[in-house]
């Protein structure tokens, strides 16, 4: 390849134009192809994401097939100054749902049944989602979507709550924290710290930079790996640890605090929303 060392001849303006045209055409053709592939595959990707979401929710709440899941989407209607909740069975496209509207200060402003596939009113801003698991007509647990500001971008999470609002499980479902540092907050052992704390304990939850006790870390790892006895070790140490703050990931205090704040805010918001919503959604199949 020694020939490559010879300097190339100088380019005239016509030649430069041809190069630019060549690159532009290549880029445009590539972009057109990618657009076509995206349009062909995106609904399958969305369907797969939905299946993954449902599996995660059932897993987090340890649900069996007797429980049904209702998805409640929350919207803001800015010009009417109202909050709209729309509930429908999760993943059943076209199933009839129920819509409840509140004013911003929490007074009911109407409710109605909506037929499946009814489009949303224009101008609604999505605020968040929650999932209510029902068994024999009563709530068997909740999964609430929450988010907070991480070290780089927002961190999205699912918080699973029992009917008494204690934490059943927590998952970070989307984040862009640094691998090896902030990304550790998405690992099973970190989220294990939240499990089984009551709603009142979560409301006061703080973060500490103190080192995590070794026995607690071992119990969290054992529970994360679902090894036999892991949950029992976790339960044995919980009375000591539940009064203590969340131990931050070393070198990632901001990410740890972001997740903790996110969980606290998510639980707090959900309890207040549910107090409003429950009388209206009680009859939903």
């Amino acid at each position: 390849m020694s020939a490559a060392l010879r300097p190339l001849p100088k380019l005239g303006p016509a030649e430069i134009l041809r190069i630019v045209a060549s690159m532009t055409v290549a880029c445009l053709a590539g972009a057109a192809m990618l657009g076509a592939v995206f349009m062909a595959t995106d609904r399958y990707r969305a369907a797969a994401a939905l299946r993954g979401e449902r599996a995660a929710i059932r897993d987090m709440l340890a649900l069996d097939s007797t429980a049904t899941l209702v998805e409640v989407k929350q919207f803001l209607a800015p010009e009417r100054r109202q909050v709209v909740y729309r509930a429908a069975p999760l993943g059943a496209e076209g199933a009839p749902g129920h819509e409840v509207t509140f004013t911003l200060d929490g007074r009911p402003a109407g409710e109605r049944d909506v037929a499946g596939g009814t489009p949303l009113a224009a101008g609604l801003v999505p605020l968040g989602r929650m999932f209510v698991a029902k068994r024999a007509g009563v709530p068997a647990g909740f999964v609430v979507e929450g988010e907070s500001r991480g070290f780089k971008k927002r961190i999205r999470m699912f918080v699973a709550l029992r009917p008494d609002f204690s934490i059943a499980d927590m998952r970070v479902i989307e984040h862009e924290e640094d691998p090896g540092l902030g990304a550790e907050v998405a690992t099973p052992w970190f989220r294990g710290q939240f499990v089984d704390r009551s709603a009142d304990e979560v409301a006061k939850l703080d973060v500490t930079k103190d080192p995590m006790p070794e026995d607690w870390r071992a119990a969290l790892l054992a529970m994360a790996k679902r090894s036999p006895g892991g949950s029992a070790r976790h339960a044995a140490l919980l009375p000591r640890e539940r009064a203590k703050p969340i131990y931050a990931v070393t070198g990632a205090t901001i990410s740890s605090r972001a997740v903790t704040d996110g969980v606290r805010a998510t639980v707090d918001h959900f309890r207040r929303r549910w107090a409003l919503l429950e009388p209206h959604l009680g009859g939903l199949r």
Partner: protein, 219 residues
């Protein structure tokens, strides 16, 4: 790049495919794209998925370059090759994300990196940009199969020794040699297999003096 193309009669499809798998195997002979070969091959399934993705990208890119090379300005051929590879990689990436989400969650990161795999762009530059459509197709197929073969063999060795299972089926209790599942074990696995490859090749070529198909060099 030390690959030299033989002038004279065009190699047959069979020669080209065997050349990619054995004489110029991308991992074991050309020692290209070793980084992904270490990173993803902790199990057979991972190696297989990435191998199939590379095979598809290599064949599609080789064919595309052969078809459009008349329109590519020689001064910008490398950027245009990169665009072609990137388009195919993104298309395959989106398809995998849509249809195999569980596997994609594990190796999705590496699929995007195929854009920068040395083996693909080197085949475009040394082969597909100079040869007709049919040989380019078979060269791409051979190189892709060679890479796939290498990843599956490395994955099988590391999964068997590191996790005591093969293709997800547990064969031995516990973790016999966890070392092989770790990155350092990946390098050792590749080195051992490369040595085996060389040994076998020396034995076979020593006996039969058939120098493979088009393979004209060591690395």
């Amino acid at each position: 790049m030390s690959t030299v193309l033989l002038p004279g009669p065009a190699p047959t499809a069979r020669q080209l495919i065997l050349n990619g798998i054995f004489a110029e195997n991308p991992v074991f002979r050309l020692a290209l794209s070793l980084c992904p070969a270490v990173a993803v091959t902790t199990t057979v399934a991972n190696g297989l998925l990435l191998g199939v993705a590379v095979l598809l990208v290599q064949v599609l890119s080789s064919v595309t370059v052969t078809l459009v090379r008349g329109f590519i300005h020689p001064r910008v051929r490398i950027p245009v090759y990169t665009i072609i590879i990137a388009v195919w990689v993104s298309a395959i990436d989106m398809t995998l994300a849509a249809f195999t989400p569980a596997l994609y969650a594990q190796v999705g990161l590496y699929v995007k990196l195929i854009v920068a795999f040395a083996i693909i762009i080197s085949r475009l530059e040394v082969f597909a940009s100079r040869q007709p459509l049919v040989p380019s197709f078979f060269d791409g197929l051979g190189m892709g199969l060679g890479f796939l073969f290498a990843l599956v063999v490395i994955g099988a060795m590391r999964e068997l020794l590191g996790a005591g299972s093969l293709a997800g089926i547990p064969l031995a209790p516990g973790k016999p040699l966890l070392f092989f599942a770790l990155p350092a074990g990946g390098f050792f696995s590749i080195a051992l297999l490369m040595a085996l490859f060389n040994w076998v090749e020396r034995r076979t070529t020593g006996k039969s003096s058939a120098g493979g198909a088009g393979g004209t060099h060591g690395v």
